[in-house]
């Protein structure tokens, strides 16, 4: 049984559907990447998991349970955390407070979880008393991911974590993703930097115009010329 599965999901924000029969799955411990041209519905697919979309048909299952149309906070408690693309930290709160907010729904001792985050992202330990808004772009992404990790999720959703970052940070972010995954957390990631993302992915999906187009291992998709051209249409 897959950790997460989307079966033939169709839906959108208003009357027009943005997703058409989207099907994808994430196995436990996998890195799965969704790539595709802008406007392909990649981020929308993620929002569907978080119950932020009106679904007309299809089913979303997580860890053996039907979570179709659940509210965001319920999904969070169930073990899926989401890192938005922008505005993903609380700028006036310190790094440590940002992490605490990630664990808001927890009532037990959160120190071990925080310790794990600091081990994963050593720069954050030094800056833990600094306001998140004053950090560099890469460090902010660490805070954003760390905040999401505070609940010990089984699955982490990342929406274009490298958007707007310079190449050095991009490499750093992909390293971090690998590290997080190494702790056993499944990762579903939407990414623009298809090459690098597919290079670290177990499997990938190519979406275009709100539907699945290709599916395969990272290496297969990378080698596929058709996939590359899809980005530029024609």
């Amino acid at each position: 049984m897959s950790l997460l599965s989307m079966e033939k999901v169709t839906g959108g924000y208003g009357e027009a559907d943005i997703l058409h029969d989207v099907t994808l799955r994430v196995e436990a411990g996998e890195i799965v990447v969704i790539v595709g041209p802008n406007g392909a519905g990649k981020s929308t697919a993620m929002k569907a998991i978080f119950g932020l979309l009106k679904l007309r048909s299809g089913q979303i299952r997580f860890d053996g349970q039907d979570i179709t149309n659940w509210k965001p906070d319920r999904v969070v408690r169930r073990g899926i955390c989401f890192v938005p693309q922008t505005d993903n930290v609380f700028p006036t709160l310190t790094v440590q407070e940002n992490l605490e907010m990630g664990a808001f729904v927890r009532n037990d001792d959160i120190r071990p979880a925080m310790e794990r985050v600091f081990e994963l992202f050593p720069p954050l330990r030094e800056k833990r008393r600094q306001a998140a808004g004053t950090l560099s772009g890469g460090q902010r992404q660490m805070v954003a991911m760390g905040r999401a990790l505070m609940l010990d999720p089984k699955l982490l959703l990342l929406d274009e974590p490298t958007a707007g970052l310079s190449p050095i940070f991009i490499d750093q972010i992909f390293q971090i993703v690998k590290q997080v995954n190494a702790t056993g957390i499944g990762i579903l990631m939407v990414e623009q930097n298809a090459k690098q993302a597919l290079a670290i992915a177990n499997r990938g999906y190519v979406m275009a115009q709100g539907a699945n187009r290709h599916e395969g291992t990272g290496q297969e998709l990378l080698a596929d010329r058709e996939v590359a051209e899809m980005f530029l249409g024609g």
Binding site: V76, F82, P84, F90, L93, M101
Partner: protein
């Protein structure tokens, strides 16, 4: 009068304004609207304390907390019965509603306690004289209590989970929701904190001067000025803003008639709006 003497009065008044401004600042940051009923919430708190403080002759350290709790409960009740329903609509509707609530509170106070000026205690307090300066025992009480409350608010916002969640929600409401923060509970605590402080501010204002149904409304402008001066939505700035407004208001009596004290707050506000018109409501879109 001596400048130092005015400074003392200014600090006392500034503390009262600051307590009010923290509440205004919090409700703006978290709920996104300028609460026009905050001044009258203060008056209501002051009058509630009258029951315990004067009628029942309980000591201040009992009467004050009771008044604060009662005012917080009142603020919460208003939110549950009215503001909650307007939250999904435009913020301006909340503002108009709060303007109405201000009048409802004021008329309730008038109906229950009458339109005349009242004092907490009869008799005249003998002021202490230190180096030619006069300071009344009440004023010392006000100052100490204000410092205590501001410290308590500071610790609450910095140390407790709910306090941090309040700051988080003022920062980024969407991310707060995605993090699983129970936003309705944050709203609840915002009213409890803002209402409680308003109650205290009202009691202190009553101690410093006298009780009158319009006492809070008159102070609303200085409170807004203090909140805006420091950047609305920033509770710490409100303390500085309150002190500045309070001191400048008292000092202004050296130059202009005392009756125009409230106008000083407005003058500062206008200067602020001209000099630093943008960035005050930083990060928030214009309506």
């Amino acid at each position: 009068m001596d400048i130092l003497q005015l400074l003392i009065y200014g600090i006392v008044l500034g503390g009262v304004i600051a307590l009010g401004a923290i509440g205004v600042s919090l409700t703006f940051g978290i709920l996104g609207f300028a609460n026009f009923s905050h001044g009258d919430l203060m008056s209501t708190g002051a009058y509630i304390a009258l029951i315990f403080f004067t009628t029942l002759a309980w000591p201040l350290w009992i009467a004050l907390p009771i008044a604060m709790i009662a005012t917080a409960a009142l603020a919460l009740a208003i939110d549950r019965s009215l503001y909650r329903w307007f939250r999904t609509r435009q913020p301006v509707i909340l503002l108009i509603s709060s303007f109405g609530v201000a009048l409802i509170l004021r008329s309730l106070v008038q109906m229950i306690w009458g339109p005349d000026t009242i004092t907490y205690q009869t008799g005249i307090q003998m002021p202490y004289r230190v180096a030619g300066l006069r300071i009344r025992p009440d004023q010392i009480t006000i100052l100490l209590c204000t410092i205590f409350l501001v410290l308590a608010v500071h610790l609450f916002l910095q140390r407790t989970k709910m306090g941090k969640a309040m700051r988080a929600m003022a920062d980024n409401p969407n991310l707060a929701r995605l993090s699983g923060i129970d936003t309705e509970r944050v709203v609840l605590w915002t009213w409890v904190l803002g209402g409680g402080l308003a109650g205290a501010a009202g009691v202190f204002l009553g101690l410093d001067t006298r009780l009158h149904p319009e006492m809070g409304w008159t102070l609303l402008l200085p409170i807004f000025a203090a909140a805006i001066l420091s950047g609305i939505g920033k509770p710490y700035g409100a303390i500085v803003g309150g002190l500045v407004i309070g001191i400048v208001q008292e000092m202004s009596t050296l130059v202009i008639a005392a009756a125009y004290k409230p106008a000083i707050a407005f003058a500062i506000l206008v200067v602020m709006l001209i000099v630093r018109p943008t960035g005050l409501f930083s990060g928030r879109s214009t309506v």
